[in-house]
Symmetry: C2
Subunit: 459 residues, 2 copies
């Protein structure tokens, strides 16, 4: 058995129980990044990752300071200097465990029940981080590395990664790589390995509409001034047409159309209308005419009202004619939309449609471009073959509706593409009580990562 | 000088300073009905009114318990049993004085500056209550009363008079009267005495729109479900047409049209577009096409959004697709609209326009009919002549946009019409810091009330 790939796979299988014990140790650290009371625990989790990377064979391991929680860095070099470099992204922080009383076992007392390991962070994403370290350790044990490997494991993902852009800017040399592997995206079902190759971007705004100079009595003035809450509703209602399309001028001009081939690929995903009806509990589905649900979520831009506030909202009745109304409005963007242009489109819409009876302003809160990795990228191909080797079937290719800022930041700052996968399942209860990790899937995932590194090194 | 009317007028003039001192004493009691910390002060104000009514010559004076703050009752009989009975309505409670730091003198330290008396409640409406008692005292001093007089002075007007309907129901005999005089409506300017003969009614609802079963991530689900905040905005936007008319089916069917004569009367009011622009500070006026501002406020029904709430409304950005959105919606009604029918109209509108992609419900919060007193009613004529006698000009006749539940309750429970006037001015800062009473207007008002009682007794 001299083939390093087979040796590494064997190593993973042989050490499964040890990796599981390591993961449990990792999960016992309540590294809740949003809670100042857990500041030391977050630090402890960073140190734990650093130690574990060192034990696995990583070099130049450091717990690097940022404006917030630290980043853990480590690396290992292949024999061949010309080998590609994989930057493994992960995060060691977790969501708060509330509500505690809904947990069947303690959120920081990892417990195996059946095929699952229950603990906060088991799926999102300490399990995925541990799988990456385990695969890496197996590579180190099996001989010369097929690729250069770097780890960037942050501690602020669950609070929006505020320190990461500055960290990447300040560590361009250190983070130089050929591709980034991000195992924080899940899979669709235990038997359906999944590669996420597209993420939507985000443009987020607060729209404020002002009417009278101060709140008025709705009896004494109702009928002579335009109620700003009503005017806001009228503006929002006009932002979609009857076919569910966004009406901002030019909104679709830069939207890259779906090819027939990509539509066929997306149609393979087992996420039909019924799937979304059950998942959301909505009375009926809704959306842009002419596209399937998965196309609407992954490949089409949308506009959402995330919040509304005006006047009196407590119990009972108050006859106020409010001076002011506010909406949080965000757009999910797809290639090649530009957040700056979308802002201009929103302003142009408001200039054209806001009546003279009110004043308005738009506050910009966030702007992130969409990302789309070429499905023919060598890393995507390497990952696809890796997943197929373990699961015995071609993976699904998915465009995700959400936004992962790290993916955009690596692209924009370092010019690096990301390939996203992961071994979490839709029923893993991430961000909810009784988060769990499906252990057979986790083991398969670890093996798939071993395949990925060898596949990608072979190119 | 044997004419009782002239004697009474002389009495009012001679005792002006004493009445002012009495009013100051009344104003020093911080009878803030909404504030439990002032419970005893509210009681003290009721006792003060009772004492003052006794001193003025009222009989059967009582501080009567209700479910909340007490009602002060008192009466005096005319010689002629067949004389009509005037029920004087008033309230002895006041609004909270906040924000305190904007007052130039203490809100409960009545202070005369120039022609004005400054204190919380000076205009709304302790000053009006004192004017009524002073006029009554003058009548008593001048000889046999021209009319039977009853007083109903409540302590919960500023919190919506919750105990009054039950009190009126339980005191039908005691409150029996020919007409109610309500001096809680103001006048338009110091030289423009005003009679308010119409009040709008009110129908108040909470509209709740439900989409998905729970809040969703707007990235992962934006594009497949109808956002209930958006759906709510769409429903609200459709409640008015481009001409500012309410679109609820049948909404205008029962609206009593304005006669040419009434429109001419309303056109005498010095309340043009500019008046409302300055008063509201709105960028431009708005409203139902084909009607002047004063007609839109007083004689036409309206629909207002009093509150909006959905999703995330704090500072910053949260990409939630909310499960729920809520609006407080109220209609100001005019004769002969019926709050129950308006509820049905709202439900029919929603049944016709709410999409199948959301669920909705309507909660009913209040329903009060509009009131309109015949301008040829003897009490209106008596009051009109009284105001003309003092100011030397025919009063203005106004329909008010607000709702005064006591007026509707007296009509619906006792079958009694109300005639509304008052000697507060638009710049009196009621419900605001530096509330004041214009003393020359207050004195004229007291004399006008003397005239009113004699005029009405002469019929």
């Amino acid at each position: 058995m001299s083939d390093p790939r087979l040796q590494a796979l064997e190593y993973v299988r042989r050490n499964r129980d040890r990796f599981l014990e390591d993961l449990k140790e990792f999960l016992r650290i309540p590294s809740i990044s949003t809670d100042p009371a857990h500041h030391d625990d977050v630090r402890r989790a960073a140190e734990w990752v650093a130690d574990r990377l060192r034990k696995a064979g990583a070099e130049r391991v450091e717990v690097l300071p940022t404006g917030g929680h630290p980043v853990v860095y480590g690396e290992a070099r292949a024999d061949r200097p010309e080998a590609p470099t994989v930057l493994v992204y992960g995060h060691y922080d977790v969501q708060p465990p509330d509500p505690l009383d809904l947990w069947e076992s303690g959120p920081f007392e990892p417990t195996v029940r059946g095929e699952n390991l229950y603990a906060r962070g088991a799926s999102d994403m300490k399990g995925q981080v541990m799988a990456s370290i385990a695969a890496f350790e197996a590579l180190v044990q099996a001989g010369p590395l097929p690729v250069h490997v770097k780890f960037l494991i942050e501690g602020e993902e669950e609070i929006g990664s505020p320190s990461l852009p500055a960290f990447i800017e300040g560590n361009r040399e250190r983070l130089q790589c050929t591709v980034s592997l991000n195992p924080d995206a899940g899979m669709i079902a235990p038997d359906l390995p999944t590669i996420t190759y597209g993420l939507r971007g985000l443009a987020y705004f607060e729209l404020r509409v002002y009417g009278p100079a101060h709140d008025l009595h709705s009896g004494l003035y109702g009928g002579v001034v335009h109620n700003p809450a009503q005017a806001l509703c009228e503006l929002i209602a006009g932002m979609h047409d009857a076919e569910g399309r966004v009406t901002l001028p030019g909104f679709y001009d830069r939207v890259r159309p779906l090819t027939d081939e990509e539509r066929a690929e997306l149609a393979r995903l087992p996420m039909d209308e019924r799937f979304y009806l059950e998942l959301t509990g909505a009375p009926a589905l809704w959306g842009e005419a002419g596209y399937t649900p998965i196309e609407r979520i992954g490949a089409r831009p949308t506009l959402e009202v995330n919040g509304l506030l005006a006047g009196f909202t407590g119990p009972g009745a108050k006859t106020v004619l409010p001076a002011y109304a506010m909406a949080k409005i965000s757009m999910r963007l797809v290639p090649d939309q530009d957040p700056e242009e979308v802002y201009q489109q929103l302003v142009r819409y408001l200039e054209a449609h806001a009546p003279k009876t009110v004043r308005w302003e738009v506050i910009r809160m966030a702007g992130v471009r969409a990302s789309l990795t070429d499905r023919n990228h060598p890393a995507v191909q390497a990952l696809s073959r890796a997943l197929e080797a373990v699961w015995g079937r071609r993976p699904l290719f998915k465009r995700e509706g959400g936004t992962v800022p790290i993916v955009t930041q690596l692209k924009e700052i370092l010019g690096v593409e990301s390939v996203l996968t992961g071994f979490g399942l839709p029923d893993d209860n991430y961000h909810a009580p009784n988060e769990k990790l499906h252990l057979p899937t986790w083991s398969r995932g670890t093996e798939a990562l071993v395949h990925f590194f060898y596949n990608y090194g072979e190119r």
